[in-house]
């Protein structure tokens, strides 16, 4: 997997975890017996990831995140699961898809290919 794509996915997943902390889901987890107290540490991890991100990739990430509340979409059978639009044939037929950073031409989310 391309290092920048890995960082983008990590940032997306961490942002989702932080987002859940402000929603009812965290209360649900606390009721189940989980402690969710050390927010600062996960924010430091997020800052470390951002430092390693290419500025243009980070800019695109922020733009998409602000619009959709998520910045990564998985792809199955040539369909972006972020917007459920078909991806161009030339993109779908390419080899080593996760070895490069690609975005959906329709919604702009970064693509993670579940099948190569």
């Amino acid at each position: 997997m391309h290092k920048q794509l890995e960082l983008v996915i990590l940032l997306n997943d961490l942002e989702l975890t932080l987002k859940e902390l402000t929603e009812d889901e965290s209360k649900l987890e606390e009721k189940m017996g989980f402690k969710l107290s050390k927010k600062q540490q996960i924010e430091n991890t997020r800052s470390e990831i951002i430092k390693q991100l290419d500025p243009t990739v980070h800019y695109a990430f922020e733009k998409v995140w602000k619009r959709y509340g998520k910045a990564v979409a998985s792809v199955r059978k040539g369909i972006c699961y972020g917007c459920f639009e078909s991806l161009p044939t030339q993109t779908v037929s390419r080899k080593g898809k996760n070895e490069q950073v690609t975005s959906c031409p329709h919604c702009g989310k970064f693509l993670y290919w579940l099948e190569d």
């Binding site: 990590l10 997943d13 987890e29 189940m32 989980f34 969710l36 107290s37 927010k39 699961y81 993670y112």
Partner: protein, 157 residues
């Protein structure tokens, strides 16, 4: 009309390959890695899942006490909700709420969005299973993967 939500059947998310009854790890760091290694996903995805799990642990340990930990996370690299069970007879220091070593590990890994949104119902069911002392004792005694799956099916019947 949306499709009816299916009943949560925990046993359907396990396969014999996702059950390890003799964990070799002795530390929190290593046991997370050992549990992730049992997920049926490619190696690159495993490293992302491991990082997210570690991030989740930074928020607070998922060791909920009584010898049980339920590390859980969501990641875009996962195609479906997946479960792993691991057991350590020796016990592992996992920074649990009661500071006791953990023997029973349930790992839950899920994509951010799933059709039936099973993540929290599955998490809740597992918490329910392990609250029962007798079930925890039986989990410590199961001899193989099929016996584990049978037991999970029984306690939820």
């Amino acid at each position: 009309m949306p499709p009816p939500k299916p009943e949560v059947r925990i046993s359907q998310f396990f396969s014999p390959e996702s059950i390890q009854l003799s964990l070799r790890s002795r530390t929190k760091k290593h046991v997370l890695s050992e549990l992730v290694s049992l997920l049926p996903v490619e190696t690159a995805s495993k490293s992302v899942i491991l990082e997210i799990l570690r991030g989740r642990e930074e928020l607070g340990s998922t060791g909920i006490g009584k010898g049980v930990a339920i590390p859980h996370c969501r990641s875009a690299v996962l195609p479906d909700l997946m479960l792993v069970f691991g057991r350590s007879k020796r016990g592992i220091d996992f920074g649990s709420v009661d500071s006791k070593p953990v023997h029973l590990f349930f790992l839950i890994a899920s994509p951010p969005i799933e059709v039936f949104n099973m993540y929290h119902p599955v998490l809740g069911k597992i918490v329910e299973i392990v609250r029962d002392k007798k079930t925890r004792e039986r989990l410590m005694e199961v001899e193989d993967g099929p016996a584990f799956i049978k037991l999970i099916g029984e306690v939820l019947a």
